[in-house]
């Protein structure tokens, strides 16, 4: 399959204050999108104050010292603009999109919010209350429970990925904590600003140069060392939901980092195992052939310094044992016998064909550029993807699976009716039981 993709015209510069800036003219719609990626995320939460990154970001978008929160928000909402802070594991994106005619007023306001946020105590109290309520709703959501317990079990409390915010950690977040988190982690040096939309780039660069250069701040961050727990035996957790007739099930293990040389090979392989929807082996066995689930998928979640692999599904309590044994069976055959050249060719075609969808519309282009630059990748990473993928053959995939996917043991998380499902998992190893409202780190 031939693959060609060229990014739209981009003007990229590193400002004297160290901030990377990308300008993308796009005249399809009369709108402007402004996105700033700052280098703090959930993984930077201080120990025992998990949730600080989220609280900091949400507090920032409540405004600036010279306007009340109501006045600040009204400026954006009245103009039909949207303002958001999206806190991910490794970074946070602050964004706004607006009609071009509102840009002269809203872009400077947005920027003031970034470099001089008000951090009002009453807004932090409100945000903490929202976070607590959100946390309460998660105890009824099996997918949320499964994810949190998986990371807690796989990585443990000494690893930032193993720690999630809890009722207690949210309670500990203070105004001072939020301000010092902001001081420590935000600054122009590691931040990336993308402005895209219907604009004359040269004109905008001149108009807003001083504005963006006003962010003068040194950041002295250091990443803490992370340790992982060896996976020598099955580690099983059951989270009790006595009213559930269905069990949500996750099996997983560690995986490679995003920048690992074999990441693309593993992604292609994962399409064949469980990432490829109806084209995947797991979907064929567990749904199409036996009707034991509505959906099953496997994913590799890779970060800069760690990665995790997980298979997720849900099935009737009564057939849990049969489903889990089938999953392990499919997984083992996949690792042992690897993939066929025909399967691999389909995975290649999917990987290349799907790029066009990931880059449809200027918002997707902006998101992809932020992701690339976070990993210090240029546009060539995407533009040369065809060549990279063409080099991956079935021998390389087999070797990669043997080296990086050969696990005899798993972390297994089951959310469901404990009484019914415990006997079906006992043969796999010892089980830790939790109730849904419990902190996933209780085991330690």
């Amino acid at each position: 399959m031939t693959f060609t993709y060229t990014f739209p015209e981009i003007t990229e510069q590193v400002m004297p204050n160290g901030m990377r800036m990308l300008w993308i003219p796009d005249f399809n719609q009369p709108v402007l999108t402004v996105s700033l990626q700052v280098p703090f995320g959930r993984l930077h939460d201080p120990v025992s104050c998990e949730g600080t990154a989220e609280a900091t970001a949400q507090c920032m978008i409540k405004g600036v010292p010279f306007l009340t929160t109501e006045e600040f928000t009204e400026k954006f909402e009245h103009a039909g603009a949207m303002l958001h802070a999206d806190v991910k594991d490794e970074y946070t994106v602050f964004g706004t999109r607006m009609l071009v005619k509102a840009a002269d007023e809203l872009v400077p306001l947005f920027w003031n919010m970034i470099i001089n946020p008000a951090f009002e105590a009453k807004e932090l109290r409100r945000i903490k209350k929202e976070m607590l309520t959100g946390l309460q709703t998660e105890s009824a959501d099996p997918n949320s429970l499964t994810r949190k317990h998986f990371y807690a079990e796989l990585f443990g409390s000494s690893h930032p990925a193993g720690r999630y915010h809890s009722l207690q950690s949210i309670k500990r977040i203070s105004s001072e904590g939020v301000k010092s988190f902001y001081e420590l982690h935000s600054g122009p040096q590691e931040s990336i600003l993308v402005i895209a939309g219907a604009m004359d780039v040269a004109q905008m660069q001149t108009k807003w140069k001083d504005l963006f250069l006003a962010w003068q701040k040194e950041t002295k961050r250091s990443e803490s060392a992370i340790n992982t727990i060896p996976l020598n035996e099955n580690r099983i957790r059951i989270i009790d939901k006595p009213d559930f007739s269905q069990t949500t099930l996750l099996l997983g293990h560690p995986a490679v980092t995003e920048l690992h040389e074999r990441k693309i090979a593993l992604s292609l392989a994962n399409y064949i195992l469980g990432g490829g929807n109806f084209s995947s082996r797991l979907m064929a066995r567990i749904r199409t052939e036996t009707g034991q689930t509505y959906g099953i998928a496997s994913n590799i979640h890779s970060h800069k310094r760690f990665g995790a692999f997980a298979i997720l599904t849900a099935t009737q309590n009564t057939q849990l044992k049969s489903v889990i044994m089938s999953i392990i069976d499919v997984y083992r055959e996949f690792v042992e016998k690897s993939v066929s050249e025909t399967e691999l060719e389909k995975a290649r075609q999917f990987a290349l064909g799907s790029i066009a969808f990931e880059l449809e519309g200027i918002n997707n282009v902006v998101e992809k550029l932020l992701w690339l630059r976070f990993y210090n990748r240029g546009n060539a990473y995407i533009e040369s993807l065809g060549e990279q993928i063409a080099q991956i053959n079935s021998t390389l995939v087999k070797e990669t699976l043997q080296k990086h996917f050969k696990y005899d043991s798993f972390v297994i998380i089951a959310v469901g009716k404990q009484k019914d499902i415990t006997p079906q998992l006992e043969h796999l190893g010892s089980i830790w039981h939790f109730h849904a409202r419990e902190n996933p780190l209780r085991k330690e």
């Binding site: 399809n28 309460q136 007739s245 009707g291 389909k346 990987a351 449809e360």
Partner: protein, 436 residues
């Protein structure tokens, strides 16, 4: 700009009654193809509740020239994606593929419109899958309670039961019944196909549609949709104890059918009441009175009837009655004091921004055209929405609110947690002692 796309819609009907809508959009090398059948759960009677959704599943289980699940695999394997969804009024099939795969998708869709296999063995396997989907939904206590609320709201109307259906019907519907339902509703005259994306010309696309769908025979008889009664008069107040830690209040009012001229006025008021942190409900309930943690509303317009829904989530220390009265007061204030010119301008700005973003993706354009054509009566309703908005007067909007959101037609549901979480309780108290 946005008008350019919407002014280029090609509208064509084949001899067998299949309506075709095409929009050329060349900013990405992809094309989205959607087929919408004008049937959903509103055409299901007792005993076959859930059949539309079951048929949606079976549409992926093979047709004369396509093996079971091969439709989805063929799309996935070129990097595209496909899906389907069943609602009260329609069942839609969504495919997005690289531009050079348009013809492949048309072939796949035409084959299952004309020649679905409906094998009994595969039907039995798929019945299990559908039951799994049903239980996934029912494991959510809030969703489960909402289904009960909705049954009461649309009592004795075809919308009484959700598209998910009834579990006893899902377990008993026969393959013969399924075949009959398929032949009644899945014909070219009861469907539309929407194609948006990077193709050479609308003329060529219509030629391709004619090639694949033109030979499908039109149904002999036009299917007869269910009739609708007037909404049940009277108000209801119900409380349910659920395994969910956050108390939730839901209030519903009857709303018009989607094709009504009254829809846009209610949408405007809903935006003023509910959208964003400067909306009236958020400002009053969350920020000023601190009786809710989050609050808002949404209109749910269906082909034959609708529902305007308002909600608030709060902490266990707050009395439900206080939340209810604060929410009702905001609706009453709209009726007595109306809306301001500033609020109208804000709605216009939001609508314009939303429209520009609706046009970023081919799939989104397909969806809006399909929805407007199937449920609102014509795709033109969506295309002309901003012009219609400009012409509306504030008095006209308030008259519409008074007409529909009547106190004696109000339905209220209070979801009370089975257990109270002490920390959430305390946080609520602290919040009130130190007001924001």
């Amino acid at each position: 700009m946005y008008n350019d796309i919407l002014n280029s819609i090609t509208d064509f009907t084949l001899g067998n009654g299949l309506k075709v809508l095409c929009v050329q959009k060349k900013d990405a090398p992809i094309v989205s193809v959607q087929v919408w059948y004008k049937t959903g759960s509103c055409n299901e009677q007792s005993g076959i509740r859930g059949i539309s959704h079951m048929l949606e599943h079976m549409m992926f289980r093979g047709s004369a020239h396509v093996a079971s699940e091969e439709h989805a695999r063929a799309i996935n394997d070129v990097g595209g994606h496909c899906n389907a969804f069943t609602t009260e009024d329609f069942t839609a099939y969504v495919n997005s593929v690289p531009r050079n795969c348009l013809e492949m998708v048309l072939g796949l869709e035409a084959d299952r419109m004309a020649n679905l296999t409906l094998s009994n063995d595969l039907f039995e396997t798929e019945r299990k899958v559908i039951q799994e989907e049903y239980h996934t939904y029912m494991n959510n206590p809030v969703a489960k309670a909402f289904l009960e609320f909705r049954s009461l709201f649309f009592q004795n109307q075809p919308y009484e039961i959700s598209p998910l259906g009834r579990i006893e019907d899902i377990q008993s519907i026969s393959i013969e019944t399924m075949r009959s339902y398929y032949s009644t509703w899945y014909s070219p005259g009861a469907a539309i196909i929407i194609i948006v994306g990077d193709f050479d010309s609308a003329g060529l696309v219509i030629e391709l549609v004619e090639k694949y769908f033109g030979t499908i025979t039109a149904a002999n008889e036009k299917p007869i949709p269910h009739s609708f009664n007037s909404p049940v008069a009277g108000s209801h107040w119900m409380k349910r104890k659920v395994d969910f830690d956050v108390p939730i209040l839901l209030i519903g009012y009857p709303a018009p059918a989607s094709s009504s001229d009254d829809v846009l006025p209610l949408e405007i008021v809903q935006t003023i009441l509910s959208q964003g942190e400067t909306s009236r409900i958020h400002k009053e309930l969350v920020r000023k009175k601190s009786v809710a943690v989050m609050a808002g509303g949404i209109n749910h317009f269906l082909k034959h009837a609708g529902m305007s829904l308002f909600f608030a989530a709060f902490t266990p220390d707050t009395r439900c009655k206080n939340v209810e009265s604060a929410l009702n007061k905001q609706i009453a204030l709209i009726k007595t004091n109306g809306i301001s010119e500033g609020e109208m301008q804000k709605v216009k700005n939001i609508s314009l921004t939303n429209r520009t973003f609706e046009l970023f993706s081919a799939e989104s354009i397909c969806h809006h055209l399909g929805y407007a054509e199937t449920v609102d009566g014509s795709y033109a309703a969506w295309v002309r929405r901003l012009e219609t908005l400009e012409k509306l007067q504030r008095d006209q909007i308030i008259e519409t609110v008074i007409k529909y959101w009547k106190d004696d037609l109000r339905h209220t549901l209070y979801l009370q947690p089975k257990k109270i979480n002490p920390l959430l309780f305390l946080m609520g108290l602290v919040r009130r002692v130190v007001p924001g």
